[in-house]
Assembly symmetry: C2
Homo-oligomer: 104 residues x 2
């Protein structure tokens, strides 16, 4: 297979959006139910502007959508298939101590 720069850059952009502990938490949390920015802010204890920027990264990657209701903005997960990936991550983490060749 040849290295198609644009192809892999497009895909890496989406993975990059997930590659932060806070954003990963938001994805897991929003898989359960939608939340407004202030709820998510209270959960992680960061400045609300920081939280807003993290959410915007996930939104522009196409992972979340937002819905403004009154003066609150609710975010929701639109790509639940991402959750399937998390099981694989667990396997990688567990394999770090194991001696097997294939983690999953």
């Amino acid at each position: 297979m040849a290295y198609d720069q644009k192809y892999f850059t497009d895909r890496a952009r989406i993975i990059k959006a997930l590659a932060h502990p806070v954003r990963l938490f938001f994805v897991e949390e929003l898989a359960r139910e939608e939340r407004c920015v202030c709820e998510l802010t209270a959960m992680v204890g960061l400045d609300i502007s920081t939280v807003s920027k993290h959410l915007s990264v996930l939104k522009s990657a196409g992972i979340l959508i937002d819905d403004k209701r009154g003066n609150q903005v609710f975010y929701q997960l639109v790509t639940p298939c991402i959750l399937n990936f998390f099981g694989c991550i667990e396997a990688v983490i567990n394999s770090e101590t194991a001696a097997t060749n294939y983690a999953c």
Copy 2:
């Protein structure tokens, strides 16, 4: 759910390792068959030292293993479940133009 910093940082570390176009390409390529550093270097057209560092990121995340044979080092994918994730990424990319709420 509470935000467990260490839990999500550990998991983000692995996703971060995948969050680069060249490393993503290596994962897909090594899913087909193992390759030595010089073969991978020829495919992406970067300096061999840069390639070596990318491979080391994937290795220390537990995604690849290496095997030195003679004066060559062969890398191999140990977490093929990561490939399942790629289908989801495609769905996210395709949904960016679509009007549906759930991408997958």
